[in-house]
């Protein structure tokens, strides 16, 4: 009786196709990745079930944490124009070089008087604790009000759209600090804001 021959298949598989797929994915992720911007004021936002995306353009983000307020406006052109308007208001002249550098700074929190030195710093120095003390927002010297107003003007001028204002508050922040900022905005008749939150799974009903 002839023996049944068990056919042995080799375990070596051709990896070329797999390699192709992996490189394709890798290329895709490299190209779509946006580096996470380091923030000078780290806050952990509260979570909510709202599903409203924070607009990428025509938006200003006010970061509130540790009793301090930081400001950021979207778009490099808008940032430059905002700085120009701020310079006019506070009688400070910024060179084109400084404006260009400022347009690369995302969130910041210093009084306008020391903004020049902040612009001159490199990115790592700006992030050091104690360098940025927050934007003054009290009634004597309300620079936050001016920043928001000028950013709104700049956005309207350049994009012809109304600027939205997002408030990114730390979950542990006490409400009076948030109220102070909201009151500044309401003085400018801005009654609608976005509160930046983490998304949270919706409760099943």
């Amino acid at each position: 009786m002839p023996r049944i021959k068990v056919k042995r298949t080799s375990t070596v598989t051709d990896m070329t196709a797999m390699c192709d797929v992996a490189s394709l994915l890798l290329t895709f992720f490299i190209l779509t990745a946006t580096a996470r911007q380091p923030e000078p004021l780290a806050v952990s936002t509260p979570s909510s079930t709202y599903e409203f995306k924070v607009p990428v353009e025509n938006n200003a983000i006010l970061t509130i944490g540790q009793g301090k307020v930081f400001f950021e406006v979207a778009g490099t052109k808008v940032r430059e124009r905002t700085l120009e308007l701020m310079g006019q208001q506070y009688k400070i002249t910024f060179t084109p070089e400084e404006m260009k550098r400022f347009s690369g700074v995302s969130s910041f929190g210093v009084p306008i008087q020391s903004l020049k030195s902040l612009i001159a710093m490199n990115g790592a120095d700006r992030m050091k604790p104690g360098v940025q003390t927050g934007i003054p927002a009290d009634s004597l010297d309300n620079q936050l009000d001016s920043w928001v107003l000028n950013a709104r003007k700049a956005t309207k001028e350049l994009n012809n759209q109304d600027m939205r204002i997002s408030i990114k508050g730390d979950a542990k922040e006490e409400y009076p600090v948030v109220k102070k900022v909201i009151d500044v905005l309401q003085k400018q008749k801005v009654n609608k804001f976005l509160l930046v939150t983490n998304s949270e799974a919706k409760k099943k009903k």
């Binding site: 992720f29 709202y50 006490e174 409400y175 609608k192 509160l195 930046v196």
Partner: protein, 168 residues
């Protein structure tokens, strides 16, 4: 002439791709994990206009259909129905408020008084930003469409009650 025998057939230029695939997937994983997948979410909030001279800024509320929610210290809530001072507020935690709102809404809707059930949220100086966002989120989940935020007019008797109970 003697030929160099290399085994008779040409060696196929086959390279073992396994380590390369390993490396590729490692990098893919790294990039997946470091990419910011979603843009941050936001909550849309509208506050009442501060200009009290305009008559359209004054909204009349029905006492039987209005629930006032005071956000206090230590994640506590004090709530009451109707006018301030007429009924003693109840102190609750955030986990129970959902049920309470639901009960009050049913009661208000069955009362036969015209108008919509309104929740008036009053964040006091003792509350945190988290409390405020949680409360607004709760109202959104509960689909309470008529909700107002008032952080300016916290009445004296409300303050007194909250102080007495240690949540302000």
């Amino acid at each position: 002439m003697a030929e160099l025998n290399t085994g008779g057939k040409k060696a196929t230029p086959r390279v073992d791709m396994t380590p390369m695939v390993d490396l590729m997937f490692l990098l893919v994983t790294f990039f997946i994990l470091t990419t910011v997948i979603s843009t941050p979410q936001a909550m849309d909030i509208t506050k009442p206009d501060k200009n009290e001279k305009l008559p359209e800024n004054r909204l009349e509320l029905k006492a039987t259909k209005t629930m006032t929610v005071l956000l206090g210290k230590n994640n506590k809530i004090a709530w009451y129905m109707g006018e301030a001072g007429k009924s003693a507020p109840t102190i609750e935690s955030f986990s129970d408020i959902e049920k309470t709102i639901d009960e009050n809404r049913t009661k208000a809707n069955n009362s036969g008084v015209a108008g919509e059930f309104t929740v008036l949220v009053k964040p006091t100086s003792g509350s945190t930003f988290q409390n405020f966002v949680d409360m607004m989120d709760e109202l959104e989940i509960m689909k309470v469409n008529s909700r107002q935020i008032d952080d300016d007019n916290i009445l004296d008797n409300e303050k007194a009650f909250m102080k007495e109970r240690g949540i302000l």
